[in-house]
């Protein structure tokens, strides 16, 4: 089973799970680890590590961080020296929906991330411009 650990500054990760679950239902595959205001980077690394160890017992893990070079992102990079897991950043509903849509398929976590990112990129756009180009 592939699990997802969402990591963010503040409540984005937990809220993202709730939001995504309104679309696809509860899949029990996502877990949020949030950096609290004033929390140290070291403490966040320890928190993430304990969750990561737990989920790695059940199979592959994809960590989804909120953005490049933030404290959660940095923590995941640090842990990637010691544990094997996928890490994608730029957390968004399209990325998570794409991951969850295909996570039952018989593909590995790495391939799943590649597909999800491709799909998410196509869903990030300037809508008015897209409509205008469509009409023209």
């Amino acid at each position: 089973m592939i699990s997802c650990i969402l990591i963010s500054h503040g409540p984005l990760a937990g809220a993202m799970i709730k939001s995504v679950e309104t679309v696809i239902g509860n899949k029990n595959r996502m877990y949020a680890v949030e950096l609290e205001v004033g929390e140290s980077a070291d403490n966040f690394v320890r928190k993430l590590e304990s969750v990561l160890r737990l989920f790695l017992q059940f199979g592959e893990v994809i960590v989804v961080s909120d953005f490049l070079l933030g404290t959660p992102f940095n923590a995941a990079v640090q842990l990637s020296e010691h544990y094997r897991f996928e890490h994608v950043t730029g957390m968004s509903a399209p990325i998570l929906l794409a991951i969850l849509k295909e996570c039952d398929e018989k593909i590995g976590a790495q391939e799943l991330c590649t597909r999800a990112l491709n799909e998410a990129v196509n869903q990030t756009m300037d809508v008015n411009r897209f409509i205008k180009e469509m009409i023209d």
Partner: protein, 152 residues
């Protein structure tokens, strides 16, 4: 090169630095004075590759930071200097790096907090005694809070 910001920040490069401080001070160079990070090749490379385009990132020991600044003294550049604790800044001032102001990122540096290690208090006191202005400021919109010397 001029040092536009010298900041003590336990997290070094992180969201606030990337999204706010670099643009607020219009930095062209980020220098990190951290012995441990020099040895951590993975994290060093991540910082060097992913910090917003056009920025030069150097991860060096305090001595090498002083040498770097000396070597490129006459070149154009606006330096954002980062370290996890105040100690590297004491080293830099002792090495004659012209630092007039140091910003502490974290409220743990308020004088009434007891959690601060004695070495950090010593360094801050030394810096203040040597004419460096030491202030606490988390976000750019926050008002800087001056730090008086610690009672040891």
């Amino acid at each position: 090169m001029i040092i536009v910001l010298a900041r003590v920040d336990e997290r070094l490069i992180h969201g606030q630095i990337i999204n706010q401080w670099i643009s607020t001070v219009n930095a062209s160079h980020v220098l990190i004075a951290d012995e441990e990070l020099v040895k951590d090749k993975l994290m060093s490379n991540i910082y060097k590759m992913l910090v917003p385009l056009g920025l030069d990132v150097q991860i060096l020991s305090p001595i090498d930071v002083a040498l770097f600044l000396k070597e490129y003294d006459q070149e154009e550049g606006r330096v954002l200097l980062l370290a996890k604790t105040p100690q590297p800044f004491e080293r830099l001032v002792r090495l004659k790096v012209p630092l007039e102001h140091i910003m502490l990122a974290d409220k743990v540096y308020y004088p009434n907090k007891l959690v601060l290690p004695a070495e950090s208090k010593d360094s801050i006191n030394w810096l203040i005694a040597n004419g460096v202005r030491v202030e606490i400021q988390n976000f750019p919109i926050d008002e800087p809070q001056p730090v008086p010397p610690y009672k040891l």
